[in-house]
């Protein structure tokens, strides 16, 4: 689960890290008021969950409260990569003497938390990794020891020479680690980590992604979920235990299991069609899931045909078939639906569909080829 910049900064602040002073606003009036309060130059930053906000014109500097209002009027309501800006963070501008990068991720290969630092702050770390990989420094953290001051010192020493900055940096590194394990994060990043002209270390922008599987330990964070991260359909699917991702084609797919779902999309493409979605009904046999799946897919007006590809293991083919019959009765879709059912209770499932005149195919290749023909 991705957090907005202001939400990430709130967590940073809770853990004692020094962040750039700022307040959230949803109207230009509020922005003007906050700018007056700060009595200094401010930065108005759109709060949307995509990168490249600055380039898109979603981050602006304002010298006076009046200018802040003008800029806010432009930013609020603007579209950035398809998302509407509804909130801005009004932050007190700082005099930047130095920008660095400090972040943590869980590395799949070593299966350890890795903390990364780079003197190249303020730009995308992936870009640094590509262009100047020698400018990225890493420490791998023992899962049971946790971060220790000596390893933090090694890393921060790559960023600064000044003993006072090194001391502040070590403290910040330890706090970021505490956040990472404290909230079950996937990513905790401060970029840029700024040293001001006055020699103060301040987190000017931050990104935190929470591990969805970790949320059961931190139910309070569930309310931080941003509706923007998912479409209405994706959210409804999630609530029902389905995984749904909308794509741009015209062949709706309902499949059980993530691997088979992806393979089905690939097969659609292989036979010359375009998948309209990824939809994994998951491992259980609840017919209600099938009803929801059809509800969601039929809302996509591009869809010309829906194919079911079910390989029953835990999932029972007859439950899927019953769900499909219920869904057709409820939504009366006027596009063809075809199915392939193999595995647990396939005979019962196929009979239910045949009795309802839904074409049933024996193999995944057959059902996909037929769907591609029907979509033409």
């Amino acid at each position: 689960m991705k957090l907005q910049e202001y939400q990430a900064k709130n967590i940073l602040s809770e853990y004692g890290a020094k962040i750039q002073a700022g307040k959230v606003a949803t109207t230009a009036d509020e922005v003007e008021k906050i700018a007056e309060e700060f009595d200094s130059m401010v930065v108005i930053k759109s709060q949307v969950l995509v990168g490249g906000r600055g380039k898109a014109g979603g981050i602006k500097l304002a010298k006076t409260p009046e200018e802040a209002r003008e800029k806010a009027e432009k930013i609020l309501g603007m579209q950035i990569k398809g998302l509407t800006v509804k909130k801005v963070l009004v932050a007190k501008a700082v005099d930047i003497a130095d920008e660095a990068y400090l972040g943590l991720i869980l590395d799949r290969n070593t299966k350890k938390i890795v903390m990364m630092a780079s003197p190249q702050g303020g730009i995308d770390i992936e870009q640094v990794a590509k262009e100047t990989p020698e400018q990225i420094f890493k420490i791998y953290i023992d899962p049971f020891l946790g971060i220790r001051p000596y390893s933090a010192r090694y890393l921060i020493g790559k960023l600064y020479d000044n003993p006072d900055l090194i001391k502040q940096g070590i403290e910040l590194a330890m706090k970021l680690y505490n956040i990472f394990v404290g909230v079950d994060a996937q990513l905790v990043e401060v970029n840029p980590l700024v040293i001001t002209e006055q020699g103060e270390m301040i987190c000017v922008d931050s990104k935190i992604i929470l591990d969805d599987s970790g949320l059961m330990k931190h139910p309070d964070y569930l309310k931080l979920r941003n509706k923007d991260e998912y479409s209405q359909e994706e959210l409804e699917a999630k609530e029902m235990g389905l995984s749904y991702v909308q794509l741009t084609g015209n062949i709706g797919c309902v499949v059980n299991g993530a691997g088979l779902s992806m393979a089905t999309m690939d097969l659609v493409k292989h036979y010359g069609g375009e998948p309209a979605n990824f939809l994994d009904v998951g491992g259980s046999s609840n017919p209600k899931k099938v009803v929801k799946a059809l509800d969601i897919i039929t809302r996509d007006k591009n869809v010309k045909v829906i194919l079911f590809n079910i390989f029953g293991g835990i999932t029972r083919c007859d439950d899927i078939a019953k769900g499909l019959i219920d869904a057709i009765a409820e939504f009366k879709p006027n596009i063809p639906i075809i199915a392939r059912l193999t595995g647990t209770n396939e005979t019962e499932g196929r009979k239910i569909l045949k009795d309802a005149d839904i074409p049933v195919f024996a193999s995944m290749d057959d059902v996909v080829e037929q769907a591609v023909n029907l979509a033409k």
Binding site: P143, D211, F311, I314
Partner: protein, 287 residues
Amino acid sequence: MAIFVDENTKVVVQGITGRDGAFHTKAMLDYGTKIVAGVTPGKGGQEVEGIPVFDTMLEAVNETGANTSIIFVPPKFSVNAIYEAAEAQIDLIVAITEGIPALDESRIFDFLKKKGTRMIGPNSPGIMSPGKSKVGILPAQIFKEGNVGVISRSGTLTYEIVYNLTETGFGQSTCIGIGGDPIIGTNFIDTLTAFESDSETSAVVLIGEIGGTDEQEAAEFIRDKMTKPVVAFIAGQNAPKGKRMGHAGAIISGSEGTAAEKIAKFNECGVSVAKIPSGIPELLQKN
């Protein structure tokens, strides 16, 4: 022979009194798996399908000599269940549970490495050596005894491919679902190593998907260390970047982990990659 599980596997089911635990205990017993014990804290003394239930793993192992554990415990309690199995000196843990936090998985991985315990999963459909033992939730009727080893990160896609293999006369030595999470106990290379030295395995099918770099490392391992033929399939060629495709493992981030990148690496290392799942038997014939 086969790998990791065979006729000598003695299984304890953790979470045996739960809905899934009880259901699959019966299915495994029907297949002939030697299940010797179950564990559910607070339910010691009961029986499920005639199998004695214990309160703790230590009692279950001491009383029955179980060497393998299968975990059906919900995510909240499964972290402890895995540590408990390892501390009770279990050799192999098969973790079916989906939704264990990644940070916990990283600590578990580290602990099991120090203990010398093997874990398959989490988020795995389990492992099966046809005709010998099934420790998992795989649908037994589609499998057939034979000499092809199957390794996969997925569940139902594995069934699809096994079904194709069986239909075309290729039986299997062992099929193993290594799990869909980013952090798992046993990876492709561990499994390939075991298949390479297994006398009953003559060829291997590797089923990968988007996310991470395990497949790329496996490709190099096959080129450098394997004498047996390996054919592959990679799912997710049309998956959009940055979207989670059903489970946490299947996400492409940055420049790592696209299907195209993986397929290119296999080709470069001389491993044939099937274009579609039903293309695998033909590739096996050629190799």
